[in-house]
Every structure is written in C-alpha cells, then in structure tokens.
C-alpha cells in the first residue's frame, strides 16, 4: 500500500513541477488559447469515468457514471475542438491581402 501511495505521490509532485516549468513567459496573445488547451487536458477525467463504469453495480452508480461520462466527454472533446479553432487564427496574413489595404489607406 505505502508503495503505491508513494509512487502516486511522487508522480503527483513531479508532474506539478513539470507544469510549473513548462509555462514560463507566454506572450499575452496566447493566454486564452493556453487556458483552453489546459482545460482540455484535464478532460482526462473521462478516463476516470471509464474506470468508474467498470466498478458500479447500483442504479445510483449508473446515474453517477452517466453524469461523469457526459460531463467529462463534453470537457475533453469540446476543449480540444475549441482550442484548435482558436489556434487556427494564428496563421500569418498573406502579404497579397495586406499591402493593397495599406495603399488604400495612405492614398
């Protein structure tokens, strides 16, 4: 028991450290996509829903499993999709479009 507990604690602490280090100095432009991306990652809670599904055997258990599954899937699927959508905005504008616009303005 203590072995598993330690193992999990070590994994927890080290992952916290990775998290602290991985997000240093993000340009403010990316703050929102970043938040959304992180939000998608904790959608991993769907794994918990799956594991739970295998353990329940009461009506209440089934209901809770359903709730957990529905919530978690919304989080994970929606999270990744919306993040991806936001990030598609970071394509560089093609010069062909931008330059004429500039001309219009000055003339």
């Amino acid at each position: 028991m203590t072995a598993t507990l330690f193992s999990n604690l070590a994994i927890f602490v080290l992952s916290l450290l990775v998290g602290f280090e991985v997000l240093s100095k993000i340009p403010s432009t990316l703050h929102t996509p970043m938040m959304s991306g992180a939000n998608a990652i904790h959608g991993v809670v769907v794994a918990g829903a799956i594991a739970t599904a295998a353990t329940v055997d009461t009506p209440l258990g089934y209901v809770l499993t359903f709730v957990a599954a529905a919530f978690a899937s919304a989080n994970v699927l929606g999270g990744y999709v919306v993040t991806d959508r936001m990030l598609t905005m970071f394509r560089k504008p093609r010069p062909t479009t931008s330059v004429p616009a500039g001309k219009d303005v000055e003339s």
Binding site: A47, F71, V76
Partner: protein, 473 residues
C-alpha cells in the same frame, strides 16, 4: 496481470510526454496548433490505456457500460457541436462551461468511489482523503465556473454582487464543508456526510465568484481551471489512475502559472481579485512601472512586442526625440525592413515637431535610407492610424499626448498624432518621465497601450531578435 499493469503504466507515461511536449509547443504561435494536437494524441493514448485495463481487469456490468456510452455520446456531442458553432467572442464563456463540467465529473467520480466502499467502518485514509478533497475542489470549480460563465455571458450582472454579511456567510459555509470533510474522513463510512460536503462546497463556489467584477472573470476562470486540474488529480488517486494524476497535476500547476501571468498582463494581483471578491474592499493593483504615475501602466517585454508585430498587418512607427538621443535609427530601419520583408505594411508617422529640431525625424530616417514613400506626414498619418494594428511609439511623448486636445495645459492646441486611435499601442521609453513639455501623457495609461521601459536602441535590438524568432517559424 501485473505485466498488463506495467504496460498500461508505460502507456500513461507516453501520454504524459505527449501532454508536456504539446504544452511546450503551445507557447509559440507557429507551433501552438501542432502542440494542441499532440496533447490530444496524449489524451487518446491515456483513454485507450484506461479502457483496456478497465475491461480486462474489472469487467463490470452491462448497465455501467451503457451509462458510460450514453454519457459519452450525449456529452461529447454537445461539447463538439458547441465548440464548432460558438461565436469567437463567446469562447471564454464556453471554456468556463467546459471547466465547470470537468470539475463536476471529478466530483462525481470521487462520490461514486466513496459509494463503492464496502466497509461499514472507517474508510482507508489513502482513499478517503483524496475523495473529500476531490469533492470539495471539484464542486467549488463546478459552481464557480458556472457563475463566472454567467457573468461573462451577461446573464449574471458583471458588477461585484455583495450583500450585507456576505463575509459571515462565506465563513460559515467554509466551516461547514471543512468540518463535514474531516468527519467524513474520521467517522465510519457515511455518504450523507459527503453529500453535506458537496452541497457546502457548491455554495462556497457560488459565493466566491459572485462578488468578483466581470472584468476579472477571465482570470477567475483560469484559476478555477487550475483547481479542476487538482480535482482531477485527486480523482486519479481515488481510482489509482496515473494518467489522471499526471495530467491533473500538470494543469493544476501550469494553470496557476498561467493565471498569475494573465493577472500580471492585466496589471491585477490574483490575491486582490479573490479577496476583493471576498469583500475586503478592492485593493489597488500593485505598481507595475518605474517612476511616477506607473500605477495602471501595462508593461510588456520585447517578446510580447515581437509577437504583436510579427502577426500584425499594418504597423505605424512613431519616432520621437528619444529615438534621436538613443541613436537607434539603424535599428528602426532594420526592424521595418524585417517586417516589410514578411509582407507586413510598415509606415512612419512623422510629427513636424517630433525631436528637437524641425524635420529632425526626416533627417534621422533619411540617414538610414528609409524610402520617402514610408514617411507619412501628420494628416496622412492620422488617417492611417484608423486602420493600424500596432502603433510603435519610439521615444516620442508630447507629440502623441491626447491632452493637447484639451485646453489649459502646455501642449494644448498642438496638432498631435492620433496614436490613441490605433488598435493597439506600444511605447518604448526608459521611464514614465515626461517629455519636453514636462507633463504626464495619458496615452501611457491607456488600456490599449503596452509600455516597454528600455533604451530605444537596446529595446529595438531585442524586438528584432524576437520578431525573427516568430516570423522564422
């Protein structure tokens, strides 16, 4: 069996690597999208591993699987559709909603885990403690995120909602869930107690976010996002799933860092936001910039400016006396060329009395062969500011001071460059100290304005390096 455990464990480690590399790549716009996809791949791996293990190891009842499938279809469908159809401007609300349900799921899992406990005696600490923590954090995150969403959406009024004695109520609620939580841990197995914890925590989440102003909502959502991460990690402890522990902890800490950075970028302190929420009176944000009047100044780094320029379409450079005294005309020209080479439209806004002699700026820029076509005189320039993405003010001050439009001050009536009409503004100067006219410039405290406190030459060199980084990719 135990080898299956090892294999699944290794699969989880693989997913961990994918999550981290993904987050790492999301730090740069050019690779951000790929990063998100990598993290999605990590998610797929983690889910696959869990599924295999769950099926092989425990099996379970048909109804459990049906409930799961139903939930996944409905929840996943809803999430995916909303994510595709939401208006760009409504994205924060949606993220907040996804965060809420994430916390809810974590709480539900912990609760189920507690119900599954067969013992009639005290539940083992190494499962009861994470269960209680998970329920508390998850519930706070669920309720809080929903309120924040309401504020962002405008359903709930954005202004801080206080009621007399709210402080007291908060404390009571907090005491309740802490006490109930402790009892749940120390007393014999009792779902009712855990239910009390759940309800109290939900209440607390609502009361926590209600008094927070809508302007601060994004920061709060980011904070609750980190909390959900921790809740998920706790859930991982409950069902002994390492993928959840890793990913949850990652989000917990990364989300915290992100929250601090967001708050800083808005020049607010997280403490002030939350405590302000708790009715201790909204503390004035900490002073950001050097020198006087720096209270509500937003400082930026060369990286921020670099990225802003690299992704702009129309850039206006506003040179002033500072550019001359820093002898940074070569750097300016180099930056302009760099941007133009990457298809960005760059123009200079020349104020007749910028600098210390008439035509000072023209002379300076001619020296480094800036083509005349790029130099806009006052009127052209003011027209161009209307469609300008980034106005880069380099060592100019008085010639940009909106105070000139008002009577009764040293620059009153001086025709100025309407820099404040640009979509966003960056000002490079060494401090908040005033220019020739010796008066403060409200442009520097404009929310659209980012101040880069540095010598013009050094700053430009840094910006050039930064821009190269971003356009290179």
């Amino acid at each position: 069996m135990s080898t299956l455990l090892l294999v699944v464990g290794l699969v989880f480690l693989l997913s961990a690597i994918l999550f981290v590399v993904g987050l790492h790549q999301m730090r740069t716009p050019s690779s951000a999208r790929r990063g998100n996809l990598l993290s999605a791949a990590g998610m797929a791996v983690a889910i696959a591993g869990t599924t295999v293990y769950a099926v092989v190891a425990s099996g379970g009842h048909a109804w459990g699987w049906i409930a799961l499938a139903l939930g996944i279809v409905l929840g996943g469908g809803f999430g995916a559709v909303r994510a595709r159809t939401v208006k760009m401007t409504d994205i924060p609300q949606l993220v907040s909603l996804f965060n809420a349900v994430g916390g809810g799921a974590a709480a539900a899992i912990a609760f189920t885990g507690f119900l599954n406990e067969t013992t009639s005696g005290r539940v083992r600490l190494d499962s009861s403690i994470p269960i209680v923590l998970d329920v508390i954090i998850g519930a706070v995150s669920l309720a809080g995120s929903l309120v924040a969403m309401g504020k962002l959406q405008g359903v709930i009024p954005g202004r801080p909602l206080q009621f007399p004695g709210s402080r007291l109520v908060n404390t009571v609620v907090a005491v309740v869930f802490v006490a109930a939580g402790v009892l749940t841990i120390v007393l014999p197995h009792s779902p009712v107690l855990l239910l009390v914890v759940l309800i109290a925590a939900l209440l607390f989440g609502i009361l926590m976010v209600l008094p927070i102003g809508g302007a601060d909502a994004p920061v709060v959502v980011s904070l609750l996002n980190a909390l959900t991460g921790l809740a998920v990690a706790m859930a991982g402890f409950v069902i002994d799933n390492q993928a959840m522990i890793i990913a949850g902890a990652l989000v917990g800490s990364a989300g915290t860092i992100l929250t601090l950075q967001m708050a800083a970028a808005m020049n607010r302190s997280v403490r002030a936001i939350i405590l302000g929420g708790f009715g201790t009176g909204d503390a004035a944000a900490p002073t950001a910039g050097p020198g006087a009047g720096a209270e509500n100044v937003r400082q930026v780094t060369v990286d921020d400016v670099g990225i802003q320029l690299a992704y702009a379409q129309h850039v206006m450079i506003v040179p002033g006396y500072g550019l001359a005294s820093a002898q940074a005309q070569h750097e300016v020209a180099e930056l302009a060329k760099l941007l133009t080479d990457h298809g960005i439209d760059v123009k200079y806004a020349i104020h007749p009395v910028a600098g210390r002699m008439p035509g000072h700026m023209n002379v300076l820029l001619a020296e480094v062969n800036v083509p005349y076509s790029q130099l806009l005189q006052l009127d052209e320039a003011n027209a161009a500011f209307e469609t300008c993405d980034v106005a880069l003010v380099i060592g100019a001050n008085d010639v940009t001071n909106p105070a000139a439009r008002r009577p009764g001050n040293p620059v009153s009536g001086m025709p100025i460059l309407n820099v404040d009409h640009a979509k966003s503004i960056v000002v490079i100067k060494r401090s908040m100290s005033p220019g020739y006219a010796g008066i403060a410039n409200e442009l520097f405290t404009d929310p659209k304005t980012g101040m880069l406190f540095a010598d013009a030459k050094a700053a430009l060199t840094g910006i050039i390096t930064a821009v190269k980084e971003y356009v290179a990719a």
